[in-house]
């Protein structure tokens, strides 16, 4: 079931501390491995690469020695309220879950019209331009928990939805309904060597992520559009914040 409105109850979200991110890319690689993301034969053309979590590199535009560089890991923003991609999909192959608010993708229902790819301003959605042909032997390294996609469908970061299902199954087997903060962690969060990424229930005051999201240093990408992303970023550096959104000079950045 999808809910075109703000998520209530449980709302899974992420906070990424950009002051801790070194740009190593481990999160991106962990995601590719966990989710059986296909690697193209020719990866030189990045406009067709599938990177559910893409690490952007930005700088402050100043010459040496004032140059500053930052890295922005960008998973799917898992927009809340009314994700731009969900309302445009003709066969309802993408939907926002009522419980948890994760924007899920049904690869077997996707007809590949790419309307959602056009709608997303963050470019988190990737279309399979090629057939997924895994080199011999490499298919043995695939994770059995995530289905491989086929040519002609769109895929994107799912907050490692399969891990949520596994955590819920485990909890059920142990006779409880609630899962604890540490039981459901996406692969990127787990892999980050500096622990820059925090994940959990944004509406649960006990979860670290809900406290961090309320920090004065927290911001989201393209806030003024009203997409209500569930991925927050933390930084004390103003110049990074200035590149998170569009604003007119006279208006200034919305804080």
């Amino acid at each position: 079931m999808s809910s075109l409105g703000p998520t209530t109850g449980i709302k899974y979200g992420m906070v990424i501390d950009l002051d801790k991110c070194t740009g190593c890319g481990t999160c991106s690689v962990a995601c590719l491995t966990e989710n059986n993301v296909y690697v193209l034969e020719d990866e030189s053309d990045k406009v067709r690469s599938i990177t559910w979590l893409r690490v952007y590199r930005i700088n402050n535009g100043q010459p040496y020695p004032q140059t500053k560089v930052a890295y922005i890991p960008r998973p799917c923003m898992q927009c809340d309220n009314h994700p731009p991609c969900v309302s445009v999909c003709p066969p309802t192959a993408t939907t926002k879950d009522e419980i948890g608010g994760i924007v899920s993708q049904i690869p077997t229902r996707c007809i590949g019209c790419r309307y959602c790819v056009a709608a997303c301003p963050y470019h988190v959605r990737y279309f399979n331009w090629f057939d997924q042909v895994w080199p011999e032997g490499m298919e043995q390294a695939l994770s059995p928990d995530v289905s491989c996609r086929m040519r002609g469908v769109v895929e994107k970061c799912t907050f490692c939805y399969h891990r949520l299902n596994q955590a819920k199954n485990r909890a059920y087997m142990e006779g409880r309904r609630e899962i604890q903060e540490h039981e459901y962690i996406p692969a990127c969060v787990e892999a980050c060597p500096t622990k820059a990424i925090t994940f959990g229930d944004l509406l649960n005051p006990d979860h670290r992520v809900s406290k961090l999201a309320k920090s004065p240093h927290a911001f989201r990408l393209l806030e003024s559009l009203g997409t209500e992303p569930k991925v927050y970023y933390l930084t004390t550096q103003e110049w990074i914040r200035r590149q998170s959104d569009n604003y007119l000079q006279k208006q200034g950045l919305k804080t």
Binding site: L4, D45, V47, R48, Y56, I58, I72, P84, S87, V88, C89, P90, P91, T92, A93, R109, C110, I111, G112, C113, R114, Y115, V117, A118, A119, C120, P121, Y122, H123, R125, Y126, F127, N128, W129, F130, D131, M150, R151, G152, V153, V154, L221, L222, S224, L225, G226, T227, Q243, S244, D245, N246, Y247, L248, Q251, K254
Partner: protein, 443 residues
């Protein structure tokens, strides 16, 4: 064969020989398939022309095969340009094919009977445009076999769902409007069942014209709505009336402004190629006047919408007009071209009665009208995708591959074949006989 049938065959031979004697240049072996009393070029020449069209179709088929076999990596599209040449083509031909429903509306609902001279042509052009667009979409989507999911698992919130429903339904309407014309072929008309069927469909054509108008209004609009609802893409997004963004109404408006112009253009080209007058000159002027009036009105609302979007909507999303043009291959000249050179100029020309009476002015203005609408579709499909929303993303460009051009030209070839066959063997232009052979010649 009995006496009666032998008599018929003899009459046929007499007819053909008589024709050949009276007008030697018009002899064609397949004359008996042609409408009564018309002249067409020789079959050899026509076959040569068909070969050229078939070559275009072959290019299209090879391209389609490659895309279906190897995947959409055969195109120039990528994750930053999910829509490319094909979608521009689709939107453009659907807008230009709007002549079918609008002429039908004017002829049958508003009872402008003088347009009966051109309604058949408009219907054929519409049929070609819509069937071609659907064929193209069959290759464009990543999983064509799953295309029916849009109907089975329909998402009521999506504009594209509405487009799918209406376009397929309207193609059925167009087929119903085209079939009686096919049954008017001299040979087919002899079969009583087909004659009756065609005749009965004719008598209730007003129902189909009404249904066609209703469906067309919605899908022309929804195609515009598709871009106007993208609230996270400031270049495309528009506010609107309830759930319908202003682009919904703008696309309907531009479609009915360019549809009649396109039909007039096709008629004029057919006249030039065949060397005959096929409709009263006043019909072409009337189509020009309708197109001109609608284009002028459209330009007023379009410019108003552009100003409002540039000064209110986009700034509310943190972007000024120049943010969209500060970099990248798609410059402000596109807006000048779309609104000025191919917008206001043809509207003004078509509104001047003396200009409409002059072939060169009328046809140039019609062509410019159509080009303006194609530019409008290009701007929303390709330029919108080129413009980054995230401040640290780049402006990008897009170039179609030969496979994409192949399918586009293949569709043109398909259209040329359908139209040429229709013109040769079907009574497309009811005024043709009166305008050309009134002095004599067999009937």
């Amino acid at each position: 064969m009995d006496r009666k049938e032998i008599g018929e065959v003899v009459n046929e031979i007499k007819f053909v020989v008589d024709r050949w004697r009276k007008r030697p240049g018009s002899f064609a072996i397949d004359s008996s398939l042609m409408p009564e009393g018309v002249e067409r070029c020789g079959l050899a020449k026509f076959s040569g022309w068909m070969l050229f069209c078939i070559a275009l179709c072959a290019w299209g088929l090879v391209s389609a095969f490659l895309c279906l076999w190897l995947g959409l990596n055969q195109t120039g599209m990528n994750d930053y340009f999910p829509f490319g040449l094909w979608i521009v083509f689709d939107l453009a031909v659907i807008a230009l094919g709007a002549g079918a429903f609008f002429t039908g509306f004017l002829t049958y609902i508003l009872r402008k009977h003088e347009l009966k001279a051109i309604i058949n042509c408009a219907v054929i052009v519409g049929f070609i445009c819509y069937s071609g667009a659907i064929l193209m979409l069959g290759v464009d989507i990543g999983q064509p076999i799953r295309g029916w999911f849009g109907f089975w698992h329909a998402n009521v919130h999506s504009m594209l769902t509405e487009v799918m429903f209406c376009i397929t339904t309207y193609l059925i309407v167009l087929t119903i409007e085209y079939v009686p014309l096919i049954f008017e072929n001299r040979k087919l008309d002899r079969i009583p069942e087909l004659h009756l069927f065609g005749h009965n469909l004719h008598s209730i054509m007003i129902v189909f014209a009404g249904v066609g108008t209703f469906l067309s209004f919605f899908h022309q609009g929804s195609l515009g709505g598709m871009y106007g609802v993208l609230y996270a893409r400031p270049f495309a997004y528009r506010t609107g009336f309830m759930i319908w963004p202003w682009t919904f109404f703008l696309f309907v408006f531009s479609a009915i402004a360019s549809g009649p112009a396109f039909t007039a253009l096709i008629t004029y080209i057919t006249q030039k190629v065949s060397g005959k007058q096929l409709v009263n000159r006043s019909v072409l002027s009337l189509m020009g006047k309708i197109a001109g009036g609608l284009l002028a009105a459209y330009m007023v609302v379009k410019i108003a919408d552009t100003i409002y979007w540039a000064t209110v909507t986009a700034p509310s999303m943190g972007q000024s007009l120049w943010d969209f043009y500060r970099d990248g291959p798609y410059g402000i000249w596109l807006m000048v071209a779309e609104l000025g050179i191919f917008g206001i100029v043809p509207a003004v020309i078509l509104l001047i009665p003396k200009a409409r009476e002059n072939d060169a002015w009328l046809i140039s203005a019609c062509a410019m009208n159509c080009i303006g609408i194609v530019l409008n579709r290009f701007v929303f499909v390709v330029q919108a995708m080129a413009i980054p929303v995230l401040p640290f993303e780049k402006f990008l460009g897009y170039l179609p591959t030969w496979q994409e051009w192949g399918i586009s030209f293949g569709m043109v070839g398909y259209g040329l074949i359908v139209f040429s066959l229709s013109y040769r063997y079907l009574p497309v232009f009811p005024q043709e006989n009166d305008l050309n052979y009134a002095q004599g010649g067999p009937r």
